[in-house]
């Protein structure tokens, strides 16, 4: 008995009235959808991933793509995807891997929250003529300041301040490792954050030497595999981040497949060519909150207490209590990654089913830290599904100090969220190490595009703040009065600590 084939996922067709046979589709598709036979372009739709590379390169708009051209008998429970996953696992007996973030149709809380604006009783502010203060400092803030007068009668600060990161805008780029993404992608991101006065994460993969000129704008990551981690690497970063978990796959480690470990990736990660890079699920020197404190302090001690240390966790059920523990570990910021966070590859069952939404996690953590009087001890960085400046503004109003964007920054480089990152053939040159594909990204142009995106969101954030009569990001942070819930249930409103619309 055979299961036969499943229906086509995508159907690609060429409008021959428009096609001028320039062959750009053939050249651009790294999945092998197109081939030339005689004077004809032959299409193998089964290989298509809907990455849109051919469509974006076609000078005549002659290519059409249709998702799920073959109908199944419709059924609300047994969706096409449910049926196809079973067929796949009946064939292979294996764990299904998938790329990008959570693809289940959960309600988006951001889209059920609305922002406020001034009318009559307090004036709104025009960012064109009034200064808007978006500068954000990440790290510990003292609970009190002590001063003394010196001999000349000037006042001097006595309190020793912990090192902070200075951001010109509360948007950073999250950790995507060299290996998961290409060098030209990392270089584009590095150029953008340097220009915009913000920071990017290196991911767990060390730092390629080409990134050294931008190191003052990088946050280096220490994850459970400790790939690429040595004292030079730690000293290069502006801050250090311990990765405990990731929103796309809470509770499990990572495996960079051997195919992606090329000469340069092997050198940066400091592992043999072609071997799997395995990051275990836990850090095996962290089995408790006390052990976490030990690693935080160890990293600080190694870098002479000059750098802030962040701890990144996936947003899970007990995120608030966990963050409260982190706040007592000497860490300077807690990064919370929501269940919509992206990834190069994750078991689908984790990607789609484990973790909680970032909106609820931010509010719960901010609330708990305030309740316990330790909110000043750690900054909150939110990530996992921030799509636009509205999500950014809402995140800050729920209590975040800044956000990390990942997928959004890749879309600015061409990514169309096709979700095939784990195959290493990304035709946009992002999630691949194949040089001819990597060369498709010019870091100058890529950097410009990503900087444009950050700039645009920053402008929009200023406008939103001005409309709400706020001229400083501190006045928006945790300011739930500026949010109202629309069609959210009472339980959710309570967690978010937000009033419903009309209240």
């Amino acid at each position: 008995m055979t299961l036969g084939s499943v229906p086509l996922r995508y159907k690609v067709s060429i409008d021959h009235d428009h096609c001028m046979q320039c062959m750009r589709c053939v050249d651009n598709c790294s999945y092998g959808v197109y081939r030339v036979e005689g004077d004809k372009i032959i299409i193998d739709s089964r290989k298509c991933t809907a990455c849109h590379r051919c469509i974006s390169m076609c000078p005549r708009d002659a290519i059409n793509l249709q998702e799920r051209p073959v109908d199944y008998r419709s059924h609300p429970l047994w969706t096409a995807e449910a049926r196809e996953d079973i067929i796949n696992q009946a064939r292979t007996g294996k764990i299904i891997l998938a790329g990008m973030g959570n693809a289940l149709d959960y309600p988006v809380i951001f889209d059920r929250l609305v922002l406020d604006a001034c009318q009559v009783t307090n004036p709104s502010i025009d960012p064109l003529r009034e200064p808007m203060e978006l500068r954000t400092y990440l790290g510990k803030k003292p609970s009190r300041l002590d001063f003394r007068k010196n001999d000349e009668g000037d006042v001097e600060l006595v309190t020793e301040l912990a090192p902070n990161l200075k951001l010109e805008t509360p948007i950073m780029i999250g950790h995507m490792s060299y290996g998961a993404i290409s060098l030209n992608t990392q270089l584009s991101l590095a150029k953008a954050v340097t220009e915009m006065g913000t920071f990017m994460g290196t991911g767990e993969g060390g730092m390629h030497r080409s990134l050294h000129p931008y190191q003052d704008h990088t946050i280096v990551q220490v994850a459970s595999g400790r790939f690429g981690v040595d004292i030079d690497y730690l000293e290069r970063g502006a801050a250090i981040e311990i990765k405990i978990g990731q929103g796309a796959k809470p509770g499990i480690g990572g495996h960079l497949p051997g195919e992606k470990v090329c000469v340069d990736v092997s050198c940066t990660r400091m592992i043999p060519l072609g071997s799997d890079a395995i990051s275990p699920a836990p850090h095996h020197d962290i089995y408790s909150i006390e052990d976490l404190a030990q690693l935080v302090r160890s990293l600080k001690e190694a870098t002479e207490w000059k750098k802030p240390v962040f701890v990144k966790i996936a947003a899970v059920h007990n995120v608030a209590a966990i963050a409260a523990g982190i706040a007592r570990s000497s860490a300077d910021a807690v990064v919370i990654d929501g269940f919509r966070g992206g990834t190069g590859a994750a078991p689908k069952v984790f990607r789609d089913n484990v973790g909680i939404p970032i909106e609820a996690a931010i509010a719960a953590v901010d609330h708990k830290l305030n309740d316990q009087g330790v909110r000043n001890e750690v900054s909150i960085i939110a990530s996992g599904g921030i799509r636009n400046s509205a999500d950014l503004a809402k995140s800050i109003a729920l209590g975040a100090d800044a956000v990390y964007i990942g997928t959004a920054s890749l879309i600015a480089l061409g990514c169309r969220v096709c979700g095939n990152c784990y195959r290493g053939l990304c035709p946009w040159g992002i999630a691949t190490q194949r040089q001819d594909l990597v060369d498709r990204i010019d870091p100058e142009i890529g950097g410009r595009n990503v900087a444009n995106l950050i700039h645009a969101w920053t402008l929009e954030l200023s406008e939103l703040m001005g409309a709400a009569g706020l001229n400083s990001i501190e006045s928006l942070r945790g300011n739930r009065e500026r949010l109202r819930g629309y069609m959210l249930d009472e339980g959710m409103l309570k967690v978010l600590n937000v009033e419903p619309v009309g209240a």
Binding site: I95, V229, I231, M270, I271, G274, D276, T303
Partner: protein
């Protein structure tokens, strides 16, 4: 100044490390630290050519991220000496706790007696950098788990049977674990297989055994035979067969 003596009694680790770093920067080649009692992170991230002697019991993460120095401990060690160490050497005249040489990528850790759980976990090698963990006694479970390179050598002196704990080399995908005597199959972790320890292996490892013995004033001769078990990965890609694409 060639030698510095520090009395660490009641001292916090930060001023202690500051003193060590300043001394190394000033060209001191030998540092003796007395009355060490639980100070963590000693020689953390330290670089340079210096010999450090610790008299007492250092706390966790001794020599973490260290690259270069040689550190001798006259006493036992806590959790994770040699954690993510890059180069240099730790010589422990005693026993050590869990996660010894965790993620170590270069240099040597010698422990005269026994170690706890997860010794040499995720050790890895790259080109000329091959980390080495040598244990005079025996080890608890999960020795060399996720090991990606380097050498773990267990000499089993003074313990009978030599290894009793399971999970040896679970998920190992590089490097080798060599254990004195025979190791029962039921102690091997997933992905680890036993191979014969040959004369050429002995020839290759005898400088290591001799060096270890010379550091602790032990006669190496009784250890110079092929009565060892060599444990290696069954594949450099232990998880390759676990997944299917969406």
């Amino acid at each position: 100044m060639e030698k510095l003596v520090i009395d660490a009694k009641g001292m916090h680790y930060t001023p202690l490390n500051k003193q060590i770093r300043q001394a190394v920067a000033a060209g001191v080649k030998e540092i003796e630290i007395n009355n060490v009692l639980g100070q963590r992170f000693i020689a953390n991230g330290l670089r340079g050519d210096v010999k450090i002697t610790i008299n007492g019991i250092p706390g966790g993460d001794l020599c973490m991220f260290m690259n270069g120095p040689e550190c001798t401990v006259h006493g036992d060690c806590e959790h994770a000496p040699g954690n993510t160490m890059d180069g240099g050497m730790i010589i422990v005249h005693g026993s050590a706790g869990d996660a010894v040489a965790h993620s170590m990528r270069g240099g040597k850790v010698y422990v005269r007696n026994n170690i706890g759980y997860r010794g040499g976990i995720h050790m890895k090698e790259y080109e000329s950098k091959k980390p080495m963990l040598v244990i005079g006694g025996t080890s608890h479970a999960f020795l060399g788990e996720y090991m990606a390179g380097g050498l773990i050598l267990v000499l089993g002196m003074g313990s009978q049977p030599l290894m009793e704990d399971r999970g040896i080399g679970s998920g190992i995908h590089g490097g080798e674990i060599v254990i004195r005597g025979n190791v029962s199959d039921r102690l091997l972790g997933v992905g680890a297989i036993k191979t014969e320890f040959t004369e050429s292996d002995l020839k290759r490892l005898s400088p290591v055994i001799e060096d270890f013995c010379s550091r602790f004033d032990i006669d190496p001769v009784p250890l110079m035979d092929t009565n060892y078990t060599r444990i290696v990965p069954s594949s450099s890609r232990p998880f390759a067969g676990k997944y299917t694409w969406e």
